[in-house]
């Protein structure tokens, strides 16, 4: 598993996957749809798939002394590594906004989503969607990625729009909690996002393995 991840990180990955982790800092931008940071992190991951295709990485990996499904596992491990690193940075910044920056006017007077556990849960949901729609979609052919990426973009921006707007719906104001307000609700939404991430990633992995097993390289 370590050798697989190492191969992904050092041979197959695009430098942009690492650089685009910087978009996690968007969680600090006031008056900005901060969930877009998740999209940019996944855009960085997309560059690695493009890089891997140009470098014949899939065939090279399939020729290594590993089972065919391990080729899929390598890609999922790398995606999860980048996603969870991005998530960790966003979580630290969210904590900062929930504590020392919670009274800051630029964050209080914000029509868009606040950085809180609900935001983190939504971020995990989006990462899970990337794994299910794009990564599993890529393994349908192991070389075509336009259709799965466009499908992911559509779903991603619909979900971002929804998440950013939901707290304006009467009765759902608690979604935009500041500091540690509505802690039980907020933490359960984060837990829901984490569960969705695990489920979507697991489904994506199973689907990708089944699809990759059927194709000829």
């Amino acid at each position: 598993m370590r050798a697989l991840l190492n191969k992904e990180m050092r041979l197959a990955a695009s430098i942009l996957s690492y650089l685009f982790l910087g978009f996690a800092l968007m969680a600090l931008i006031p008056g900005y749809p901060i969930l877009c940071g998740v999209f940019f992190i996944t855009l960085g991951l997309f560059q690695s798939f493009q890089n891997a295709r140009e470098a014949n990485d899939i065939v090279y990996s399939a020729l290594l002394p590993i089972a065919k499904r391990d080729v899929v596992k390598g890609k999922f491990l790398f995606c999860m590594f980048i996603e969870l690193t991005g998530f960790f940075v966003m979580a630290v910044l969210t904590l900062l906004r929930m504590t020392v920056l919670s009274g800051n006017a630029v964050y209080r007077e914000n029509a868009l989503m606040n950085a809180n556990p609900f935001f983190l849960g939504a971020a995990l949901l989006l990462f899970g969607m990337f794994n299910l729609i794009f990564v599993a979609g890529f393994f349908r052919t192991a070389y075509k990625f336009a259709r799965p990426f466009v499908s992911y973009i559509v779903v991603c921006f619909v979900l971002i729009g929804l998440a950013e707007a939901l707290h304006h719906v009467p009765g759902l104001e608690a979604l935009n909690a500041f500091g540690f307000e509505h802690a039980a609700l907020q933490l359960s939404l984060l837990a829901g996002g984490a569960a969705a991430y695990v489920l979507l990633t697991w489904l994506g992995y199973r689907l990708a393995c089944a699809r990759f097993d059927k194709i000829d390289l």
């Binding site: 190492n6 065939v59 399939a62 020729l63 290594l64």
Partner: protein, 239 residues
């Protein structure tokens, strides 16, 4: 003893069919796999490496079916896929270091020896290599993990006559060390130089599978060279 066995391997594409391919590789022997372009050599080799799904048949290595034992079999098999360029913008040093981690039996000494023998500079990237040097780089990886079987797809294509000679010489040395080699080619002089056995494929069907001496005796006419035999057989197959 047969170390690799193919039995009734079939694969259909819209414009091509591999029909009931069966042959075996004898331990410690060099087998030349010959056929014209498009005859089915690469499809057969891809089946042997589990890169494509066969429609039927069975492939066994060391008595084990490839399906279900892929990882352990590939530990003991080396392969080279001609001039394909892996990770064109990474250095040979980087690619080899990552690849080595997958092989507990990686032989750094052999890697250094073949690096020097092939005249490869490990700070170079595949994109900077000529086609012949790419073949050598692929062979370098195949030879550096103490493989018991080498499956080489057109290893001599693109090589200059000196490098080809060195490579065929190397095949003989590896054979003496007990390595079993299958190499595909369309260059008959390669077979004359080193093949113990010949597998001849035409239009997706195995037409001959025997020792080189038997092939000359059974398929050749008096005074014919190996090249003349293949040319005649191909002409007859097309007629």
């Amino acid at each position: 003893m047969n170390i690799v066995e193919l039995r009734g391997v079939c694969k259909s594409y819209p414009a091509f069919r591999l029909r009931e391919v069966s042959f075996a590789l004898e331990s410690g022997k060099i087998t030349g796999f010959i056929g014209r372009n498009g005859a089915g050599k690469t499809t057969t080799i891809k089946s042997m490496l589990n890169l494509i799904h066969t429609d039927g048949g069975e492939i066994r290595y060391f008595g084990l079916p490839l399906q279900g034992h892929e990882a352990e079999i590939k530990q003991r098999v080396g392969y080279s896929t001609g001039t394909v360029s892996w990770y064109p913008r990474k250095t040979i040093r980087q690619i080899a270091a990552i690849t080595a981690a997958f092989y507990p039996d990686w032989d750094e000494e052999a890697f250094r020896k073949y690096l020097s023998l092939f005249g490869l500079d490990e700070s170079k990237k595949p994109i900077e290599l000529s086609e012949g040097m790419k073949v050598k780089f692929n062979l370098l990886l195949a030879l550096s993990h103490r493989a018991e079987v080498l499956i080489l797809d057109e290893p001599t294509s693109g090589l200059d006559p000196f490098s080809r000679d060195e490579l065929l010489e190397l095949f003989q040395t590896l054979k003496e060390h007990g390595v079993t080699i299958l190499f595909s080619t369309h260059i008959t002089s390669d077979l004359e130089r080193c093949a113990d056995n010949i597998v001849y494929i035409s239009k997706g069907e195995i037409r001959a599978n025997c020792s080189r001496a038997d092939f000359m005796q059974n398929y050749g006419k008096e005074g014919e060279t190996l090249e003349e035999i293949f040319l005649r057989l191909e002409r007859e197959a097309r007629a």
